[in-house]
Symmetry: C2
Subunit: 322 residues, 2 copies
């Protein structure tokens, strides 16, 4: 089981290669919120999302023998770029199975970063089977997108970092809002945050129709999403919560918050205008929850994690002008 010490160790491992993303304030946001809001912009992280933390944490701990056979991963794009970049930095070959309808910028970046890409049809093919096939053939290690202790520990450095930064500012957050799909980021973050401040609440935010974690937290079982579900948030479309991640999340998280595509777009426009940040749909859900009034923020200190910023220019421009 992953614990706080693993996150501390990951933070030391990651310090030389990651960006310590700042905690940003915005007077416009505080005004709307009627409270104190800090933004943790992981879109500024290496490869444009928090995913680099987990991927590098795992790849850097492979044995020499494992490393020489390369790794394989499946991802809609952010984990893909993170694995490709980590592999290139560590001299490990990477193969990434990606949906053919992933944002072009994510596929291009994965290749530019040194990853070999294998495309598949998101709605008819089984990416796990494809990845396992490649692994069996080449003897390479599969790097899961979320359900692995070293991935969770890596993502948890977001929580460790934001708590230390809050302490530097002399505040303790009352609540932390984090985007959630498979649950790697939020499980690691919650582990760090709740260890350092048990009174702080950590809330998962999901897109409409991909609210598997919200429903799972109610039922206590890992619920699945409808295979026909669609969302603007290409980064947050897993079938259901991870096994390891949900075991942590069911103990540590507050109730799940759910946002619509319209609320996500509104948050992306706010980030452009007031924060000067390029945020992708899946990266904006926590901000969308805050702006959409999904939770009481009056007179509280709230930290919002923006988890990624990889979006095509065409889509970004059209959302900004809506």
């Amino acid at each position: 089981m992953v614990d706080f010490k693993d996150i501390e160790a990951a933070a030391k491992r990651l310090a030389p290669v990651t960006v310590e993303t700042p905690l940003l304030r915005s007077s416009a946001l505080d005004e709307i919120a009627g409270g104190t809001v800090y933004i943790k912009p992981e879109n500024l992280q290496v490869t444009g999302s928090f995913k680099f933390r987990g991927a590098y944490n795992m790849l850097s701990q492979l044995t020499a023998d494992e490393a020489k056979h390369g790794v394989v991963a499946f991802s809609s794009g952010n984990h893909a770029q993170a694995v490709a970049a980590s592999g290139t930095m560590l001299g490990i070959d990477t193969t990434i199975v990606m949906p053919e309808d992933a944002p072009a910028v994510k596929i291009e970046n994965t290749r530019r970063l040194g990853g070999k890409t294998v495309l598949y049809d998101r709605y008819s093919e089984d990416r796990e089977a494809i990845a396992r096939g490649i692994a069996a053939e080449t003897g390479s290690v599969v790097v899961p997108a979320f359900d692995h202790e070293r991935i969770i520990a890596g993502q948890g450095t977001v929580g460790l970092e934001l708590m230390r930064q809050c302490a530097d500012f002399g505040v303790t957050p009352d609540q932390v809002l984090v985007s959630c799909s498979g649950g790697g980021l939020i499980s690691g973050t919650a582990l760090a945050v709740k260890t350092m401040s048990p009174e702080t609440s950590v809330y998962p935010v999901e897109p409409e129709d991909f609210d598997d974690t919200a429903r799972s937290l109610i039922s206590g079982e890992r619920e699945t999403n409808d295979p026909g579900a669609r969302s603007i948030c290409d980064a947050l479309q897993t079938e259901r919560p991870g096994k390891l991640t949900f075991a942590i999340n069911r103990k540590l998280l507050g109730a799940g918050l759910v946002v619509s595509d319209g609320e996500v777009k509104e948050a992306m426009r706010f980030a452009f205008r007031h924060l000067k940040l390029v945020v992708e749909p899946g990266g904006a859900v926590a901000l969308a929850a805050l702006l959409g009034g999904k939770i009481d923020i009056q007179e509280r200190v709230t930290v919002v994690v923006l988890s990624g910023g990889n979006i095509d220019a065409e889509m970004f421009a059209s959302i900004q002008k809506e």
Copy 2:
């Protein structure tokens, strides 16, 4: 005369109210550069530009008697927002004389931040005369956009901060590229950088037809721009270098670099795609100089200051899609 101690004092004064903007790396940028590049994103600063540093540094040092009569400033937008926000934070009334063709977002933000705005025609009216008239009437202090010791010292904290951050990374920059208009940011920055590392070069970057500092550095006199000049960089359109700023700049700066509107747009697209940052035209000139090959960056450590990010959504979208 402003000196390094003034910048250190400003940094202490500003620490509780400003964002310590991070130093960002980008593998795409390093690849193109063939060297090591650090980005200092002042578009993430309070009010969306470095201008808040100088404005707050000056307003926070007014006497109680001065403060009670309010302040007046003239600005195309970034200094305006900075003065308005500083005034609101310190309980000082602010009046800002702004060109009527300034980006709508800058005028709206100035009002939202608590500034009273007075609009004028950039090409037929004299903003300094309007501001002085208001000052004479109300007894308020004029807050210059650049040519004042406390403004220069405040902007200089950008240089102090980036040098300290470089030291944390174990590097000394070979060169620092900074946008230049009246010269407040670059004079303060150069003062800090050259005090801490005399071997580091500091280069001013200006838009085509607003290259008054580049020409002044050659002639040794303060040269003026053609009144008919136009540029996409609304933030970098002063008539000529400041008196105080140029006295510093002529001693400390390397040769001026000049970029075209097309190069500025290219840099804005790069910032969107690879850095996940919203940068306004005037804020992107230093990056444009680097990407446009205006200076040798091979095997050197270069710091690029992005000075602001206040741009209308329509314009941003149209540039991204070009």
